[in-house]
């Protein structure tokens, strides 16, 4: 359906009525929250947008919001594509998302406590023991351990989509090392630089308070006996693709950004090597995966971690954020039990919808999946970043047969979901020099601490830049948008 807009920049905007379009209604009207923005955009020519797009890219390069791509010949510096058209979420719509994200984070935390203690939810027959026993992310070393403040998933990222029915659905929970929050802030800064005039016409929430809240959260889980905790961010180093985010978070919190080689353990206490000698560390917001944090406890050849760190954590000398072993709960197979998990621990109805999920580990559901691959999305349960995903209606017959063989080899490793209709949003397409509809999702960021929680009033809207593509992950060529949450 062609957009009813006379702006040249929208001349090739044709949206598919099978999907929910964030900008236009079924009756071809601009949605209320976008009306003002459309009027403002009418003052810009096609060339203006092209220039603004270049300026936005420059802003990202100059600020160093980049990642390195290593080739055989040379290393290239790249930016995650940023889109000029912001996503706007009304206050009422946001309130539901915010409550729902917080509810899920709290439920997941309670679930993790239970899994690593009494496992009542398993004994009560709500979640099958096989899912836990077969999960590579369940850390038996964490059994019986009480993390400071009782918190496991201090930082959670919840991925949501808006389906064709106009309602939000959670696609997955990320509670290991969810990334992307620096782009929420970076996108806002870039849009303010390029399209500053539009901000006067909307009252949206500021997103720059994330760092302060994160610091308060991680300070709240300080080890016993510590008055003023010394916190740090642990990064794998400058070559990690998320290094910008690690340095951003350290700077926002005003704490040191350390690498494993900067830390040292003595008498189970963690110290960092400073120009004045050793300085004790109390809380580590680590952006290094579980298996790499300590070569003595986990992967022996890891150069990213600190020998003895896990022992220090278990002895209560230092707090790790997020706690090791959270990966068992953001497993895509566990995801399907989230409605029951929420009800079991919080005695509440889930606020956000789950997408119906088929477990390939269950014989009857496996049968359905194998017979209907063309209608389903197949996902490995323990991968992130959009890797290993097969979208049934994009596969050839030969590819479907290949997927069937892969699933049958290890059914526990896969789940399947109906192909969800991710909503579309106007997105500036550089090659076409015009706005076109592209599929989007939304990642929200929730923080849990001892007696404190926080949901960032904003989020990362990720956009699949190729026409018709449903995978929005940056590692798969996705971009992102500034996301405005309106105050009224």
């Amino acid at each position: 359906m062609k957009a009813p807009i006379n702006l040249p920049i929208f001349s090739s905007y044709e949206f598919d009525s099978r999907f929910y379009d964030e900008i236009f209604t079924e009756n071809n009207q601009v949605r209320e929250v976008y009306e003002t923005l459309f009027n403002l955009f009418s003052e810009y020519s096609v060339n203006d947008f092209s220039n603004l797009n270049e300026k936005a890219k420059d802003a990202f390069f100059n600020q160093g919001i980049t990642f390195q791509v290593y080739g055989d010949q040379e290393t290239k510096e790249k930016i995650f594509p940023f889109d000029l058209f912001p996503r706007i979420i009304g206050n009422k719509e946001w309130t539901k998302i915010e409550k729902g994200a917080l509810q899920r984070s709290k439920a997941l935390n309670a679930f993790l406590w239970d899994l690593y203690h009494d496992q009542k939810i398993i004994k009560d027959g709500i979640v099958p023991i096989e899912l836990i026993n077969s999960s590579v992310n369940f850390l038996k070393e964490m059994k019986g351990f009480n993390p400071p403040g009782g918190i496991y998933n201090h930082v959670s990222g919840t991925d949501l989509i808006k389906h064709s029915d106009g309602d939000y659905y959670v696609l997955e929970d990320n509670i290991r090392c969810p990334s992307g929050v620096s782009y929420v802030v970076g996108n806002r800064a870039a849009l303010k630089r390029t399209l500053f005039g539009v901000f006067n016409h909307y009252q949206s929430y500021n997103v720059s308070d994330y760092g302060q809240n994160l610091l308060e959260i991680i300070e709240s889980v300080k080890p016993k006996g510590v008055d003023l905790p010394k916190c740090v961010v642990l990064t794998p180093g400058v070559y990690n693709s998320a290094y910008y985010e690690h340095s951003f978070l350290a700077k926002q919190m005003g704490v040191e950004l350390v690498e494993g080689r900067d830390l040292f353990i003595e008498n189970d206490f963690v110290y960092m090597k400073t120009i004045r000698g050793l300085e004790r560390i109390d809380v580590i917001y680590r952006r290094v995966d579980d298996l790499f944090i300590d070569p003595l406890a986990f992967k022996k050849d890891s150069l990213l971690g600190v020998p003895g760190l896990f022992k220090s954590y278990k002895k209560g000398k230092v707090c790790l954020v997020n706690a090791p072993g959270t990966g068992v709960a953001d497993d895509k197979a566990i995801y399907t039990y989230m409605p029951q998990i929420i009800k079991y621990y919080l005695n509440e109805e889930p606020i956000l919808n789950n997408v119906h999920t088929y477990h390939c580990s269950r014989p009857d559901e496996l049968k359905y999946v194998l017979e209907n691959i063309d209608k389903l999305v197949i996902k490995p349960v323990d991968e992130s970043g959009g890797y290993g995903i097969s979208i049934g209606n994009k596969l050839t017959k030969a590819e479907i047969e290949k997927v069937k063989i892969t699933i049958k080899e290890d059914p526990r490793k896969y789940i399947a979901q109906p192909i969800m209709s991710l909503s579309t949003h106007a997105t500036y397409i550089e090659e076409e020099n015009s706005f076109e509809p592209r599929h989007v999702d939304l990642r929200t960021f929730t923080l849990l601490g001892k007696d404190k929680d926080f949901v960032l009033k904003g989020g990362l809207t990720r956009v699949a830049l190729k026409r018709g593509n449903l995978v929005v992950n940056s590692s798969q060529g996705g971009g992102s948008k500034d996301t405005w949450i309106l105050k009224k």
Partner: protein, 316 residues
């Protein structure tokens, strides 16, 4: 501050300062030579040799004839040459990147923007008619980086480490430039019987370190070897002099070492000793054995770096 990050900041300061000196040396020598008062100072080979001497003395070892385009490209934009300005700016940016949580966004963005401008500078244009534009870009932007350092960072240990890098590098570059121009003046004497005392190379030397106008104001005379060397080595008011750099190095090491009497093997002790030794030197002492003085100072500056490394950067 982390020892590793302190090392990064120290080298960020050094590379920032280095790029400016090399760029100005290129600019001043090349453009001064175009209308120099004698044939030798106008000679391409003479000027190119002098440029390579300052950029990296090792490069001169096997070369007798210098190709202008190659020498300019090597010093300006050759990514394969460690001494190129491009690599100095890239190294400064990489060191800043490793410490970006400690420095201001404004400083980081300025370094990053300069690095982008350098690596995207058109190589053909640089060789055809872009030498002035390129070197001017560096000599204009580096002071702006120093302003960002001074104006946006906390004046604490982080700042002191960067300033130590800047002033150690400044002293090192100035003495290397003095050495180069002294050699040029000697070549003029041998080849063309031009007086060392009144050689045109002293004017070029002062311009290479942006001190010509102030030297004229201070002495109210055309530069000679004595006045130029006195001004650039011992004058405590000239911002580019060795004495001023030593004074600043001594001042900033005080941020890191709080001991009233530093240990005799420490960087702080050595820096203090070096400063006071120079404070009571005369130009006659220096000129008595200029070559020996230069070699000793280069060694001592290198020793400061080694001692700082031992005391602060590699203590574990």
């Amino acid at each position: 501050m982390l020892a590793r990050v302190a090392n990064n900041l120290f080298w960020m300061g050094r590379y920032i300062e280095r790029s400016e000196h090399i760029a100005r040396y290129l600019n001043v020598n090349y453009f001064s030579s175009l209308d120099a008062p004698n044939d030798l100072s106008q000679s391409r080979q003479f000027v190119l040799r002098s440029m390579l001497f300052v950029a990296d003395e090792e490069e001169l070892k096997d070369l007798k004839e210098f190709d202008e385009q190659k020498v300019l490209f090597d010093i300006g934009l050759n990514p394969e040459k460690q001494f190129s300005i491009l690599n100095s700016i890239s190294n400064a940016q990489q060191n800043a990147n490793s410490a970006r949580d400690l420095i201001s966004s404004e400083l980081y963005e300025s370094i990053n923007t300069l690095k982008r401008a350098v690596i995207s500078f058109d190589k053909d244009k640089f060789l055809k008619n872009g030498l002035f534009e390129f070197t001017k870009m560096i000599t204009t932007n580096v002071p702006s980086l120093r302003t960002k350092i001074r104006g946006t960072l906390l004046h604490d240990e982080v700042y002191a480490i960067i300033m130590l890098g800047i002033y150690i590098e400044r002293a090192n570059q100035v003495i290397r430039i003095v050495n180069s121009k002294y050699n040029d003046a000697l070549v003029g004497k041998v080849n063309s019987d031009i007086s060392v005392e009144t050689s045109y190379e002293w004017t070029t030397l002062l311009k290479c370190v942006e001190s010509y106008d102030m030297m004229r104001r201070y002495y109210r005379k055309a530069p000679t070897s004595t006045t130029a060397l006195d001004f650039l080595i011992l004058n405590p008011y000239c911002p580019r002099s060795i004495m001023k750099s030593l004074h600043n190095i001594h001042y900033y090491i005080g941020y890191l070492c709080k001991d009233d009497i530093p240990h005799k093997d420490s960087a702080a002790f050595f820096i203090g000793k070096l400063k006071y030794e120079h404070q009571y030197k005369t130009i006659e002492d220096v000129q008595g054995d200029l070559k020996g003085f230069i070699e000793k100072l280069v060694e001592d500056l290198s020793l400061i770096g080694e001692k700082m490394d031992k005391d602060y950067f590699s203590r574990f």
